[in-house]
Symmetry: C2
């Protein structure tokens, strides 16, 4: 597959499909519009991807893999936690929120929520096969920080779950489910609040005096 004989129109088609799907939803989007957005004729779309359903699935997987890669990279950035723990966590939170509050990520989650009943397999693709890959990766890092005495968490998985919840929950509301894009200072504020309460709960010794403004 992937006929290399010609320019990779498949990529253009998948990108166009995702943008159109994110504008109008799955069933409201028509293949004609996707073809137009990709600058391609409709039969070409069916030449590369068999059906609208497959088109949707592949467009979602492509977008999901990109978003997951960026998120994992942000978490991996915590590996070399420099001197200051709070600063490192705040930076991690900001990076995660920059991925999370992205226009494309909002569209991805909206489409996932909308079609999760019709396409249940999308869950494994978007969240990362099995349970949530982000939480697992973050749990690994929190466990390391606990072993080195920087944190005091008894259940790394639960702590990771809650760290992510403290980040995404407030953003969901403040951003009005993605209809209002947040500025970087707003994201930094949310990340700071999240790290503050996370450290109040899980810091090893404590610098509890330095709460948020």
């Amino acid at each position: 597959m992937t006929t290399r004989g010609r320019i990779d129109k498949r990529h253009a088609i998948l990108n166009a499909a995702f943008t159109v799907f994110s504008r109008k939803g799955y069933s409201q989007s028509c293949v004609n519009e996707i073809a137009a957005e990709a600058g391609v004729a409709k039969p070409t779309v069916y030449n590369h991807l068999d059906s609208k359903e497959n088109l949707f699935r592949h467009a979602m997987t492509a977008a999901a893999e990109g978003a997951m890669a960026r998120n994992l990279a942000a978490i991996e950035g915590l590996r070399d936690a420099g001197g200051e723990l709070r600063g490192a966590l705040e930076e991690l939170g900001l990076q995660l929120l920059l991925c999370y509050a992205n226009e494309q990520s909002w569209a991805l989650r909206r489409l996932l929520y909308a079609e999760v009943t019709q396409f249940p397999d999308l869950l494994d693709i978007v969240l990362g096969n099995g349970t949530n890959r982000l939480a697992e990766a973050l749990a690994d890092r929190l466990a390391r920080l606990t072993l080195t005495g920087r944190l005091r968490v008894t259940d790394p998985a639960a702590a990771a779950e809650q760290f992510l919840a403290l980040l995404t929950g407030p953003v969901d509301i403040r951003s009005r489910l993605g209809t209002r894009l947040l500025t970087e200072p707003e994201l930094r504020d949310v990340a700071g609040n999240a790290v503050s309460t996370f450290l109040l709960a899980f810091a090893a010794e404590d610098a509890r005096a330095t709460a948020a403004t």
Copy 2:
């Protein structure tokens, strides 16, 4: 359940509309099926509600108002916080999650996420006009608990935001966006975890020894 006045048919139509919409999504649902589900002829539907769009809006508002009322009642139950603060917060968390993880609430949020770009006004209706009414009501109660010396929160709004995030975030993941219904013990576990870290961060004095399992 047969005709007992016109007002009953309107309720039946709205209920049927919400169940069908939650099964198939907005654009995949056809008015015929809604009419059949309500035990009503299609012209009757258009006699009560002008268009499919209006039908969707009214069905969503009805479901949203019901869910919001139950949530606010749960928060109001915190007004007379008995002797034990942790027990009261855990009970509140469980009640909120019983509302949140309900099948109907999942359907409501899925439809909201799916159609928020096409029907932006649904946001004010579902979240409660203006900003989040739940967070505001909970912030009021947290402020009271701070004044009476049971908690130590500097920003009640942010604390309420985070308490709700600690509840709903883990449930979103564990429930796989509502495709897997959680049992009450599971919800109790999530609520216990949320209250534990919340108290670790915001308890006035502290009973920090009693963390989760």
